[in-house]
């Protein structure tokens, strides 16, 4: 952090701290502080974790360039979406859209779609913005919520880094097919979730 920015940053944090409200119920306590709360929220929320994992698998299947693009685009978009969500009133994500994300990302992985780098970037950005927004909107407006977002986005970054790197280095045909099978499972789960959502819960 550069020196001139420190006072303004401290002022923002102090203002936020003074204006903070009790955290909404969405971000559950892990007992280890808000950063870990955010991290654990991501890791224990399959509706967030699985599409992000599918993004990593897709990027990994397409190679290191796509992996690097997703590695920075998805967490950045997730951060932006979360910050936008923090400023918004608490809203819940649309179950149909969540199911469609499963279907889309799982389907692309299962079919080993030859997506362009631009499409990878767009998908990562949209995925991050969408999920980040609903994560952020459920966290309330407090310093701990901001720290929770930091933890959450860190978890997204680590997941993409590990999963995409793991897939990129796969050379055996059967190993790449196993990744595609995982994609088909994600798409199948999305189809079922869609049925559930259309039924109305």
């Amino acid at each position: 952090m550069s020196k001139p920015r420190l006072p303004s940053c401290a002022a923002v944090i102090l203002t936020l701290a003074l204006c903070s409200r009790p955290a909404e119920a969405h971000l559950n306590s892990s007992g280890m502080g808000p950063i870990y709360d955010g991290l654990m929220h991501f890791l224990t929320s399959p509706e967030d974790l699985v599409p992000a994992l599918a993004m990593a698998l897709l990027a990994g299947l397409r190679g290191a360039t796509h992996g690097r693009r997703a590695l920075f685009t998805l967490p950045a978009a997730w951060l932006l979406g979360s910050l936008a969500g923090l400023a918004a009133a608490a809203t819940g994500g649309n179950a149909v859209v969540a199911a469609l994300w499963f279907l889309l990302m799982g389907g692309l992985v299962a079919s080993d779609a030859k997506v362009s780098l631009r499409l990878t970037t767009i998908l990562a950005a949209l995925l991050g913005l969408y999920h980040g927004y609903f994560n952020g909107s459920g966290m309330g407006q407090s310093v701990s919520a901001i720290l929770g977002v930091v933890g959450l986005v860190s978890a997204v970054f680590v997941l993409i880094a590990l999963a995409a790197a793991f897939v990129v280095q796969l050379r055996a045909q059967w190993a790449r097919i196993a990744v595609r099978v995982a994609g088909s499972w994600i798409a199948a789960s999305g189809l079922l979730l869609l049925g559930w959502a259309l039924r109305g819960g």
């Binding site: 399959p46 099978v181 088909s184 199948a188 049925g195 039924r199």
Partner: protein, 201 residues
Amino acid sequence: MRFLSGSRGLAAGCLAAVTPSALAHMQAGQATGFLTGFLHPISGLDHVLAMVAVGLWGAQLGAPAIWVLPVAFPLVMAMGGMLGFLGVPIAGIEYGIAASAILLGAAVAFELRLPLVVAALLIGFFAVFHGHAHGTELPPGQSALLYSMGFVMATGCLHAVGIAIGVVHRWMWGQRLLRAAGAVVLVGGVFFLWKALGGAA
């Protein structure tokens, strides 16, 4: 990632798959949702026979059927599950499940070499019945997403068991063993059809 390679990675994946979620985070019913879904296909012998037979048949047919069939089955099964969720009635579900065991068992027993498209359509047709049964049997109060992920993963694991057994197809004695296994599935299917027709009443 070397420490996560091979059997260690598989063991870690299995442990991660069956580990209950943190109760502090998950809403009530979600943790049991995954396990309920995962155990559902395994607890029904009719499902087990048909799904293992898909893997066995894929192993007999070789590439690309060995992975196309296990990818197609969960996807079409999920469509059936969606219809079940939505309450769309399909007549003769139990007959369809029993018939799937009979025909898939026969395909393995006689080592039928159908064109890939025909084989995929055949297992896709029967997958609808299995999926519909799963969808209509979703216990109230369970998490649809975790339940769906559980039973899709269990289905995939059953296919994998069939494929793993099918490795013996490279030896002459193995081919005979697979045909015998197909005959067992066929007999099991006849039994379940007899039960569905009211024979056990």
